[in-house]
Symmetry: C2
Subunit: 432 residues, 2 copies
C-alpha cells in the first residue's frame, strides 16, 4: 500500500538543530522501539497488534448483528479517535448517504443537543430499528458520559424490552461502569489500564464502533503497525515522528507557541480535533518530569483548506511569527469537472472546464509558495488516500510524535493532572 | 427583551488600564456613534437599519416562495455570519428535524464534499422539490464560489428548465457576477460597496438566507441596533464592546497572543468560527495604520464546553499564560432530567435525578473557579437565549469590539491585504 509522505523542506529548522534534537531523543526512540507489553505508559503502542482486543470486538459485533443507528456516548479521548477515523474514511456527509448504520456522537451534557439525539433515536426506535448505545469511559466515571448514557438508556428502555442487548460498555476492567455492565448484563469491552484516553484509538474504544460501521479494522491496524516500525527507526531520515517532534520543539524553543494543523480536506477536520486533544493534553503541563515547576505547552489549532484561506490566512501571512504549520493533503475520491462556460470567464480567469482537484492543487501550491516566500515555517503530510490504512498510519504517526515531543520538552505526555482543578470544584458544587 | 450581559470581574485588567485604554478609544467611539451612511469603512454599522436591503430581500423571498433545500454557495465572510446565526438559532441538528427548508453550505472546492452536496441536491430535485442556489461573493470573483456555483448550477439545469428562477446572486452592485445575473436573469441582491465580508452579517448576504429559513429578521436587526446604541455609549460601564477590546488589548500588550472563545453550547460553535474570521482578518496585520511595518495579531481559537474540558483544559490550566478567554453561556431550550437510578450512584456521585442544566452549570462554575484560582484571565458573555434578538446583539457587539481593537492596536480592521500573496501565486499557476 502507498505510504504517507512527510515533507520537511520548508520547516526552517537547520540540519544542526535536527541533529541536536535527535541526540536528545535517543532514549525515547529506544523505548518506542523496544516496547512490547501493556505494563507501562507506552502500552498504547502495542494496541494495533493486540489480538485479544480484536477477538473481543469481533465476538461482540457478531453477537449484536446489524444495527441502524449507533450512538457513541463518550467525550474527549473516548470519542475523538473514532470520530476522526470515521469522518476521514466515510466522509463528513456519511449520515446523509444511504449507508447504515448511521452514527451519532453524544458527548457534552448540552440538553439541546442531547434532545436532538433523543429525537433521532426515537424516530429509529418507532420504526422498530435497532439502536446501539456504545458507552465509552475509561475511568467509568465521567460525569457527562454517565449522565448522557442514563438519559439515552431510559429512552431505549421505553421501546425495547431487550434493551440490555443493545448496550456495549467500553471501560477499564473493574471500573464501576464495568461492574455495572456485569450486574445489568450489558456487553463489555476492556481498555487496558495503561492506555490513556487520547492514545486509545486502536483499543476497543476506537476499534469497536469502527468495526460496527463496517470498516476494515485489519487495514487500520496494519497502517498503525507499519507506521510504528517506521517511527521506531534509528535512522532519522526514516523516522518521521521524530522529525516532526524535533521541528516543533525547535520552533517552540524560539518562541513559537501555536501549532496549526491545516488540513486540505473537509473530511479531515475531526482528525484535526483529535490531534488538538493529543497535543493539548500531552504537552500542556505545569511541571517538568523532574517535578520542577515550569509552564509548558503549544496551543494546537485546526484550519481547513481552502475554507480558512478566507478567514485565517490574513493572520497567518500578515501576523506575528508565532505559528508552525503542518499541512495535510490528500487526493479526493471524487472527480468533478467544471463546465466550460464562456460567459463565466470574466468572473474568475482560467478555471473554465478544469477539474476541481486542479483548482484545489493550484490554491494549495499558491499558499505554500506564499508561506515559503515569507519564511513562515511548515511541513506537509501527504496522505495517499483517506482509507483505513492511511488513517491508521496517520494517527499512529502523531501519537508517537507526541511521545517524542514530551521527551524533548521533558514533560509527561501521558498524564493530565491539571484537569482535576475544575473537576474538584464541580464535585463540590454538585454535593451541595 | 432581555439583554446580554458582559461580566469582566475576572479579566485581571486594572481600573487604571481600563481608563488608559478608554482614553485611547475616544475618537473611535465617536466615529461609531456618529456614523450614519454607507460612504466609509464604518458602513456595516448602518446595515441593521437599512430599509433598502430588507425590502429587496423580502421582495425576492416572496417572489421565490417556499423551497425545500437552500444551498448557500459562499466562503468566509460570505457564509460564516449566516451559518453562525442559523445554527445558533435553529440548532446544530436543524437539518435532521422536520423543518424546511433544509440548508447546506458549499464553501471550498473539495470534490468529496461538493459531490455529497450534489447527491443531496439531486435527491430533492428528483422528487420535484424546489432547490434554491444562493451564491454569495462580494467581489463576484471568488474562485471557490464561482467554481462551486457553476457545478451546482449545471446539476440544477439538468432537472429544472426554469432554473434561472432558482438562483439568487448576492454581490457588489456592478461586479462581474452582478452583470452576469442581469444577463442571465437571476435574482440579484447588492451588498453595499464598503461593507466588507466579515462585517456583512446584516447585509443581504446574511439577511436573505436567514429570511428564507423563516427567521425573524426584524428581531435580529433590532438586537443589532440596540447593541450598537449600547456600544456607542460614552460611558465605559455601558460600552461593553469597548470594555472587551480594552481588556484584550491590555493582555496582548503583556504578551498574550491567543484569544479563546469558549462557548458553552454546541449550537454556538459556528459563532466561534465567525468570530475567528472577524478577529483573524481584522487585526492580523503586517503594518500599522501609519504604514509602519510591524507584525500584529492575536490568534483566535474556539472551544466548546463541556466537550473541550476533555481535550484542551489540561493546556488551559496547566500550560503557559498566553491566553485570554471569553466564555459564552446561554440557557438551553430543552430541559432534560436524569433518571434516579441508585445503582449508578457509585459511577458519578450526586448526579442522580438532577437536571442536565444543573450539571452543566456546576461544570461551568467549576471551570470558572479553577481559572480564577489560577489567575487565568477571562470574561463571560451571558446570552439570555439563542434567539434572533440575542444573536443579532452578539454579532454586533463583536463587530464593534473589533473596530475598537483595531483602533487600540492602530491597525486597519477593514482590509485584508496579505491574502493577495497566495492568490497571486494561485492565479499564476492556473494561467499555465
Amino acid at each position: 500500500m502507498d505510504k504517507l509522505a512527510f515533507d520537511t523542506r520548508c520547516s526552517l529548522v537547520s540540519q544542526a538543530q535536527m541533529e541536536a534534537g535527535w541526540r536528545k531523543l535517543q532514549k525515547q526512540v529506544q523505548a518506542v522501539r523496544d516496547h512490547r507489553n501493556l505494563k507501562d505508559e507506552h502500552a498504547s503502542l502495542v494496541m494495533p497488534d493486540d489480538a485479544t482486543t480484536v477477538e473481543a470486538v469481533n465476538r461482540i459485533a457478531k453477537t449484536i448483528g446489524p444495527v441502524h443507528l449507533l450512538i457513541v456516548v463518550g467525550i474527549g479521548g473516548s470519542n475523538l479517535g473514532t470520530w476522526a477515523a470515521q469522518e476521514a474514511i466515510l466522509g463528513k456527509f456519511y449520515n446523509t448517504t444511504d449507508a447504515t448504520p448511521k452514527i451519532l456522537y453524544c458527548d457534552t451534557v448540552d440538553a439541546d443537543s442531547v434532545s436532538s439525539i433523543q429525537d433521532n433515536m426515537e424516530a429509529h426506535l418507532k420504526k422498530g430499528n435497532n439502536v446501539l448505545l456504545s458507552v465509552v469511559s475509561k475511568s467509568g466515571s465521567t460525569t457527562e458520559t454517565i449522565a448522557n448514557f442514563e438519559v439515552l438508556l431510559q429512552t431505549l428502555q421505553q421501546y425495547r424490552k431487550d434493551y440490555k442487548k443493545w448496550v456495549v460498555a467500553t471501560t477499564d476492567h473493574g471500573s464501576h461502569l464495568w461492574n455495572l455492565a456485569m450486574d445489568e448484563g450489558y456487553h463489555a469491552l476492556a481498555i487496558p489500564k495503561l492506555v490513556g484516553g487520547r492514545y486509545s484509538a486502536f483499543s476497543a474504544c476506537g476499534i469497536f464502533p469502527l468495526a460496527m460501521l463496517g470498516l476494515d479494522i485489519a487495514k487500520l491496524r496494519k497502517g498503525a503497525t507499519d507506521m510504528r516500525r517506521q517511527c521506531s527507526s534509528t535512522n532519522l531520515r526514516q523516522n518521521i515522528a521524530a522529525q516532526s517532534a524535533i521541528i516543533q520543539y525547535t520552533h517552540y524553543t524560539k518562541g513559537i507557541n501555536v501549532s496549526n494543523l491545516f488540513v486540505f480536506s473537509n473530511d479531515l477536520e475531526m482528525v484535526g480535533k483529535w490531534y488538538r486533544q493529543l497535543m493539548g493534553e500531552s504537552i500542556g503541563k505545569d511541571h517538568k518530569r523532574s517535578g520542577k515547576k515550569k509552564l509548558t505547552g503549544i496551543t494546537p489549532t485546526v484550519a481547513v483548506g481552502s475554507t480558512d484561506l478566507h478567514s485565517m490566512v490574513q493572520l497567518y501571512l500578515g501576523g506575528p511569527h508565532d505559528k508552525f504549520t503542518t499541512f495535510v493533503t490528500v487526493p479526493t475520491k471524487n472527480s468533478i469537472k467544471l463546465p466550460h462556460w464562456k460567459q463565466y470567464d470574466p468572473l474568475v480567469k482560467d478555471i473554465q472546464g478544469k477539474n476541481m482537484g486542479t483548482l484545489m492543487g493550484a490554491i494549495l501550491k499558491g499558499v505554500k509558495t506564499a508561506y515559503a516566500n515569507q519564511q513562515r515555517p511548515f511541513c506537509e503530510i501527504k496522505l495517499p488516500a483517506k482509507d483505513e490504512y492511511s488513517i491508521g498510519a496517520l494517527l499512529q504517526f502523531k501519537m508517537i510524535e507526541m511521545m517524542y515531543l514530551g521527551a524533548l520538552l521533558n514533560v509527561n505526555p501521558f498524564d493530565q493532572e491539571n484537569v482535576e482543578a475544575y473537576k474538584k470544584e464541580t464535585r463540590r458544587i454538585l454535593r451541595k
